[in-house]
């Protein structure tokens, strides 16, 4: 198997995977997911935090099966192709903090890089500011990388270390089965549900889960990463991952055109605000945090699925960060940034700069 060429890691492979994500993200919207949010790793992690009661913003509570599928799909691919490699120990607490601030930044803009692309593909002009911010943040990250920044080596670990996040996801899925949404009820057993807002909008469970599994599988094979797309372009002038990102954007756009979901403009876009400076600023923070942590939120899920315990910590940081973002009023809404959103972005940037400047040990 190891000698077999990995077609998904070839040029057309990664474009096809990006296209697959773009098409099915747009279709997930058609089938019930929120506007321009067919797939959003940040938003969906945040919804999971809400479903668990880690924050009590009652419009964003849902145990998103897509996230569960991403991790488990990647796990299946990793096992099938003998790439499951349990490992951990590369500055876990720093990865946790980066995950938390990545989430806080993403929720000021209202979306992860995937959703930024989906928003653009749906005609939301505010996404241009977000994507510009993302590129800016990643660019700052590449300066640190050139200066010797790294989080240190991970160590091989017990298989159970690699299984922790997949097991947590299986537990979440079991909860979703035992406590399904009940009509007009904000709670079902231990899970919280939204009666209005984006948390109340979702595609059927089986559809979400299957698409999630397929995306997880394909993304593990192709190493699809939206942060890496810009990073490699800036750092190495290499467009491999960027082609995957373009595939997502173009095919989401085409699918939106076909199903009538394209509506260009800045005002009144679904789950978006028009405060340009903070659409930009939030994503500078998120982009820098992704770059310092070595992957976009989606990629961190896929890495966690193939046994990377440090990526799993980043994911937990994102979920906890979502709790902070809503409890502390730093998350934006359609009305604009939250009362403490601007302060959170500034603090987050300082934290990232601290991490970037102080972790520059040269690798022997």
């Amino acid at each position: 198997m190891a000698q077999m060429r990995n077609i998904f890691a070839a040029r057309w492979g990664i474009i096809a995977v990006g296209a697959f994500i773009g098409v099915f993200a747009a279709l997930l919207q058609k089938m019930g997911n929120p506007g321009n949010m067919g797939i959003c790793v940040a938003c969906f992690d945040r919804d999971i935090a809400g479903a668990l009661g880690l924050h009590r913003a009652d419009v964003v509570q849902y145990m998103r099966p897509e996230i569960i599928g991403f991790v488990l799909g990647s796990l299946i691919a990793a096992y099938l192709f003998k790439e499951f490699r349990p490992r951990a120990g590369s500055a876990p607490i720093v990865r946790f903090v980066l995950g938390a601030f990545a989430m806080i930044g993403a929720l000021v803009f209202l979306g992860c890089p995937w959703r930024a692309l989906l928003r653009l593909a749906g005609g939301d002009g505010n996404a241009i500011l977000g994507i510009a911010g993302l590129i800016g943040g990643i660019w700052i990250g590449t300066l640190f990388l050139k200066g010797g920044y790294n989080l240190g080596r991970s160590e091989k670990a017990y298989a159970s270390v690699g299984w922790m996040l997949p097991l947590i996801m299986i537990f979440f899925l079991v909860l979703r089965f035992i406590y399904p949404p009940l009509a007009d009820k904000p709670q079902s057993g231990v899970l919280f549900y939204s009666l209005k807002g984006p948390g109340s909008m979702y595609a059927p469970l089986a559809v979400s889960l299957l698409i999630g599994l397929a995306v997880g599988f394909l993304a593990q094979r192709s190493r699809f990463c939206t942060m890496g797309a810009f990073r490699d372009l800036i750092l190495f002038r290499q467009a491999h991952l960027f082609l995957g990102l373009l595939g997502l954007l173009v095919f989401a756009f085409l699918t939106n055109l076909v199903v009538g979901q394209f509506s260009p403009g800045f005002a009144k876009q679904p789950i978006a605000h028009t405060m340009s400076v903070w659409n930009f600023g939030g994503m500078v923070l998120a982009g820098l945090a992704f770059a310092l942590a070595g992957g976009c939120p989606g990629r961190q899920l896929f890495l966690a699925g193939e046994g990377d315990g440090d990526a799993a910590i980043f994911v937990m940081g994102m979920i906890v960060g979502a709790g902070f973002a809503h409890n502390f009023g730093t998350a934006s809404s359609a009305a604009g940034v939250g009362p403490n959103g601007i302060a959170a972005v500034i603090i987050g940037l300082f934290v990232c700069l601290f991490i970037g400047f102080t972790m520059r040990r040269k690798i022997a």
Partner: protein, 73 residues
Amino acid sequence: MAQIVDARGLSCPQPVLMTMAEIKKTGKGQIEVLVDTDTSKENVSRAASSQGWQVQNVSEEGGGYRIVIKKDA
């Protein structure tokens, strides 16, 4: 005598950064890169090729890979 770049345990993009640095430093000859994930194996091979280096051999070693890259003259 081949130069050895040990990128095991390091996450993206460190293995590629280290390989590129070594390529710049040596200019030609042979470099062996040690990595521990398939992603790094692919990334290092792709980066080496983009710099005009040939991937001569990839062997499994200690749960990871040893990649031998080469450039004549």
